[in-house]
Assembly symmetry: C2
Homo-oligomer: 215 residues x 2
DNA sequence: CGTTAGCTTGAGGTGCATCAAGGGACGTGG
DNA sequence: CCACGTCCCTTGATGCACCTCAAGCTAACG
């Protein structure tokens, strides 16, 4: 795979996106990944941080018996791979064809401004992760899916329409459900007029009602 | 309440504790709290960060119908209250009589070293929160309690004995269970010889077996 | 066309929630 | 001293949301 040097702050300069997502500039090497290809494995040295330029990435942890918990989905503009320890606590994989930029973590610590950007990224992810905690700890299947869809729509460029990059199994492992429950709940939400689902295309028909489900 | 200025790095200098917990020095005002007293409320301005000197603190979020998710327990040496946004996303309350030190968040951002300490704190909490995600998403009630007890024992000063500062209801809201399930599961774990429980005193009898439950 | 991957749907089971009751520790007041 | 609460926890009986197991459906692709 040919690698080239890049200094990129915004992967989609022509499109309107939530400003917060693009506040970090990574100077590093671009890397293309095919579907399901690993970026790093749990336990590997955490020397690099990554920014998604295109595509999508999942991070997850496995229990010994194969149960999987996806801890995050990362879309263009998102940074991932920053760890508290020297090694990665989760595995990261491309969900579909994706392009990343990787930067040495050490090269960020030196610069004060980069450090500030980095800690803003981390704080934002902590915020998201706590939201996710509430979802996994206290919400029902419908509520989980509602908050998931709204979150994803907010991160995408259309507020009421989204193309899921991930499979039903990915969604299940993110929301702490089974693939069957995800599927059933989506059709049930469609039946009650909340959303329209066509494969991985989802339209949020009654966005306010969905938001109410998240309280 | 009389407040005095403090510069404290280690709340328990005479005791052996995990080194990681005491790497942040806060210069600020000491504050004593009685049981169930709020430190800050969800939505309040997040101008201060706090360090627990003695006692224990819980942070939590509520859904509209009263369901509660505790996002973290903070013990002596722990720092809490750092937010991605200008306001707190959770409420913080003292679990028992406690003493905190509070410091202006702005006073930390200025200093490069303090910033480094701060981001280390945040990274550590992100790490913990992701562990918690795996627990809430994919573990059974026994597994949840096992990982909870082991985590708490690791943070305390004895590896196989601990005094829970929080109620069964707090534990339930932390682990995404009901108080009845927590109670039942503890007695069942005692029956199978994993732990010995006497009110809020817990002894980890077969620590290795408990750890196996967490995989 | 057969095969596979991804998704949906159905039937039945179960882990945990819900509802309900009781017990022990502690305080308060007579 | 006992009677009475309240708080916290435990235990039991029952129900249900979601899981498990199983089958079928569609689209893509050799």
């Amino acid at each position: 795979m040919p690698a080239r040097l890049l200094a990129i702050s915004d992967p989609n300069p022509s499109q309107a996106r939530p400003a917060e997502r693009d506040d970090m500039t990574l100077i590093g090497v671009a890397r293309s990944l095919s579907r399901d290809q690993a970026v790093f494995a749990e336990g590997a040295a955490a020397d690099f941080v990554y920014k998604v330029m295109s595509g999508a990435v999942r991070t997850f942890r496995l229990l010994a018996d194969g149960r999987r918990q996806i801890t995050g989905f990362f879309l263009p503009g998102d940074v991932f791979g920053i760890e508290a320890r020297a090694t990665h606590a989760a595995t990261a994989e491309a969900i579909c064809e994706s392009v990343l930029v990787s930067a040495r973590r050490a090269s960020l610590g030196a610069d004060g401004e980069a450090l500030g950007q980095l800690s803003r990224c981390v704080l934002r992810e902590l915020h998201r992760t706590r939201d996710h905690l509430l979802t996994l700890g206290r919400r029902s299947a419908v509520e989980r899916l509602a908050s998931f869809l709204i979150d994803l729509a907010d991160r995408g460029r259309a507020a009421d329409r989204l193309a899921l990059p991930m499979s039903r199994q990915d969604i299940a492992d993110y929301l702490g459900l089974t693939i069957e429950t995800v599927s059933r709940t989506l059709t049930q939400m469609q039946a009650s007029g909340l959303v329209r689902v066509d494969g991985r295309q989802v339209q949020l028909v009654r966005r306010a009602a969905l938001a109410d489900l998240c309280e």
